[in-house]
Amino acid sequence: MTNATEIVKLTAAEMGEKVRNGELSSRELVQAHLDVIEAAEPTIKAFLKVSSDEALEQADAFDKLSADEKAAMPELAGVPIAVKDMIVTKGIETTAASKILEGWVPPYDSTVVERLKAAGMPILGKTNLDEFAMGSSTEHSAFQNTANPWNTGCVPGGSGGGSAAAVAAFEAPLALGTDTGGSIRQPGAFTGTVGVKPTYGGVSRYGAIAMASSLDQIGPATRSVLDSALLYEIIGGHDLRDSTSIPAGPRPAAAAAREGARRDLKGMKVGLIREISGTGDAFEPEVTAHFNACVKMLEDMGAEVIEVSVPRIDYSLGAYYIVMPSEASSNLARYDGMRYGLRVMPPAGVPQTAANMMSATREAGFGDEVKRRIILGTYALSAGYYDAWYGSAQKVRTLIIDDFNKAFEQADVLVCPTAPTTAFEFGSKIDDPMAMYVNDIATIPANLAGLPAMSIPSGVASNGLPTGFQFVAPQQKDEVMYKAAAALEAALEDSWNGPVWQKMNTPWLDGLGA
């Protein structure tokens, strides 16, 4: 198998299998993806940095291992991956898509990257995002806009638009993202890919650039549910370097996904979240129609479908836009021009002090959305407003967690559309922060409650853009959503005669191969 186009269209699990049985080397896999990256990047712009040399070196090191050594490694050993530029990589520039970190080469690896390397997975490069993961379209990147592979006039979602677009465009079989309010799942919905936010604390955040520490979680972006499960099991599990890391191994996601693929959901109770189940003006009719068709499929596979209520979910957006900027304002205080990153001295005539240098550096280095959130968060944490805002938002988290607990007494897994719309056009929401924020209405609640959640493609709307279906499971029961999602994925692919990406035009793949 030497045709790059054929190779890159395999699932990551299939690639891993071909590496194991000697049909493909890791170097061939890396080279095929580098070829696609070269052809696709002028249009897609998913990558901020392509680490070709490092990836090929890693592949060669893996290919030299003995058969016994390879056999002891995870199923995805030898399969390359892209990493969101919010996650630090030793020796490879890491910027968070911000001018304040431009040129920074981290002296250490994040825990997840250490685990990828130990699993023999070459790193293809660093993907684009909204600056410091603040946004829902990737338009807030300080460096470039990433195009949606389904329609290059539309955004790929955000903040992890680069990871989602890279996976959708076959530039990478797998990618890592970070999800604070939907930054893995909403881009998944917009690009027809799978995006997973594990239980909070399920994957170590050591080396993930901090945005809102009580909400941030690293997770997989892939083209299949099983690929996400296999990747999650590699990066998940306890890490002493993250005090919020759950002291247990990863959940049995891959076994659950394989069980789900048998399409038998008898005994599973699926709860439709009444408040965000696709009704109301915010949801495009086709998003709702695809959602309803998927619910019917779950029912046909034996699941019992009921309606549940999460009554205080209406307060999530408010709570999120207090907690997130508050924590971000504190986390981003470290970018002060002293130890790493940008330093800008104050203009002539202004005293050349440390404090003035910090103000000049942060003014020059941060973009509009980052400044907006730092100012809002500084306000929410300031004397006199702390109780009314931050304190209230923390109480709302308790209420939302209570509501979810009650819902999970009735159902094993909850469902709703991932995003109320399909991907929107560049520029359509960039000047209206609230319009951008409400796009995350269905993804934010899982972050507030620390719940695992994932988005899978639910169809393609008449505008040619994909829609997303979201599963939400109880804390530390990630496997439940993998099982249900794999079942739905199998049923949908059966109805489409193949994966959703068969409906996507890929002009950048023309002329590649043979």
Partner: protein, 100 residues
Amino acid sequence: MAMPTFTREEITHLGELSRIALTETEIVRMQGELNTIADSINKVQQVATADVQPTANPVPLEAYLRPDEAEKPLTQEEALSGAPVKEDGMFVAPRILGEE
């Protein structure tokens, strides 16, 4: 508590607190945007009654200690590798005090 409205003086002050030398244009634009955002998030106060306990970490864990074993830290060279200005193995910072 009623919704506090962002004044331009407050935004200037917040810019100073958060060490961002905001421009005049940014202050004016941010005032409008923040008031719109504040309107829509202020309703959290409606349900946050005194009897509700706050949640800081959605997955509460018992604190535990790491084994007290020395690990290999970054070398001085690695720690300084990203420094904007360095000299003799140290970070160089602008002076802390003003003109006086």
